[in-house]
Symmetry: C2
Subunit: 262 residues, 2 copies
């Protein structure tokens, strides 16, 4: 399998995941937007949508599938239950399982929220010559629960989760400038530098994903992360909920540039 995954179309990538391939999607399908998932019963849908509206940096909504719907314009011809590499299953807020197929868990009252992902702006960062450590190191991006509280909405409350990329000190302002133009996929960083200021005690022990080595001359830069709704599910304990496995995203048919602001 020496395929250049960056050159695949979203439909080709989704077909591989549907067939059971389970890998992180960073670097796949260059030029296409990637997305987080959060799936909740209809009874929790208003609280979840309002939570997203009140916390647009971690939870930028790209699309919502109506109750029971399994496809939509962001994944034409696809199936939200099978087309990601892996999914998390939460019962009463506990992560009980990670699966590669949600079909046997599906219910007609499930509402799917498709949430922007920072993998989307990695292509423009790379184009600008800014290195992405987790791509260079061949691992998943590290993600951390922080001490930053999200604004709550009804029964949904929780901490902000962030992703971290070590950025060369001379390129931090470029990274801010470039990512700020993509607010629908988390936009500008929420924190630059000292991890302890946002409640992260040890960079080498992320809560999700994998640790990266922080190269000399770089500084850790933190972006709001679309795993945040899953952290809210863990705290808010709806009877059932599903997410993407962190780092294993929905690859959408939308172009990165669809989310570029002027």
């Amino acid at each position: 399998m020496s395929t250049d995954v960056a050159a695949l179309t979203p439909a080709e990538a989704r077909a591989r995941f549907r067939d059971g391939l389970h890998v992180p999607t960073s670097g796949w399908c260059a030029g296409y937007a990637q997305a987080n998932l959060i799936i909740v019963p209809k009874d929790y849908a208003f609280d979840t949508l309002l939570f997203a509206q009140r916390n647009p940096k971690p939870c930028p909504i790209l699309g919502v599938l109506d109750a029971g719907e399994t496809t939509g314009p962001l994944l034409r011809g696809g199936d939200i239950r099978t087309d990601l590499p892996a999914y998390t299953v939460y019962r009463d807020g506990e992560l009980v399982e990670t699966v590669t197929d949600l079909s046997e868990h599906w219910r007609d009252d499930l509402v799917t929220f498709i949430v922007g992902c920072s993998f989307t702006f990695e292509a423009p960062l790379l184009q600008a010559g800014i290195p992405i450590a987790h791509i260079d190191q061949g691992c998943n991006v590290p993600m951390y629960r922080t001490s930053i509280r999200c604004e709550s909405a009804g029964r949904m409350a929780g901490p902000m989760v962030v992703s971290m990329r070590p950025i060369p000190a001379t390129r931090v302002s470029d990274a801010v400038r470039i990512t700020s133009r993509y607010p629908a996929v988390h936009g500008a960083p929420v924190h630059v530098g000292d991890p302890s200021r946002i409640g992260i005690s040890d960079l080498s022990r992320p809560n999700f994903g994998e640790p990266v080595t922080v190269p000399d001359g770089t500084i850790p830069v933190f972006w709001a992360c679309g795993v945040t709704p899953q952290a809210a599910v863990m705290e808010s304990r709806p009877p059932i909920a599903f997410g993407h496995a962190p780092g294993c995203m929905l690859i959408t048919d939308a172009a990165d540039t669809d989310y570029l602001i002027p």
Copy 2:
């Protein structure tokens, strides 16, 4: 009453409206964001929020008050039932009344959506030397139902409503550039020029607000308008709903610049 209304604070303006003053708010409280209202029963709240999410140009959400709540951070110390110049009352989608106080209609299951308003970007347009015809002519802004369909959400569906400002032909690109930096208050225009292309047959007969004279050398420019959720209420016929009277906005404590993107 020769007060310079542009110099009032939002709290001062809201107090005047609470006391019964009923006038359009364009030009009031320079530097502060103005907002549209749509208020629906909890049972319609998810459909309404999803309608807004799917139609961000006409329905940019600035805030949501929980069911029964009558105040919030956008109107500190205020009361959403009394602090606007006037409100519309819809029963089964019919506009049955315009009132200056919603108190006697209030119910504990009512959810209030505060939606961005294009009056917010009139201050930066004026600062750039772009004239605003309805301010110069001392009337309300003209608003029109268009042939552009919004994306529907559950039971909520309807046409896009737009506001129109005649802009000097040499300044249209400046007006686009300036307003595009305020996506939370409708952003860039949705249409420039021929009104018939978006289903407006007669500029002198707006569906809401008042007609303006289109001065020589100007071209009509159309921005998405926060009366759009009220047009959806008229079509979708929830048992009860309320809005602001078109042009008579909530003046919020948020600064215009809070909604300025980089």
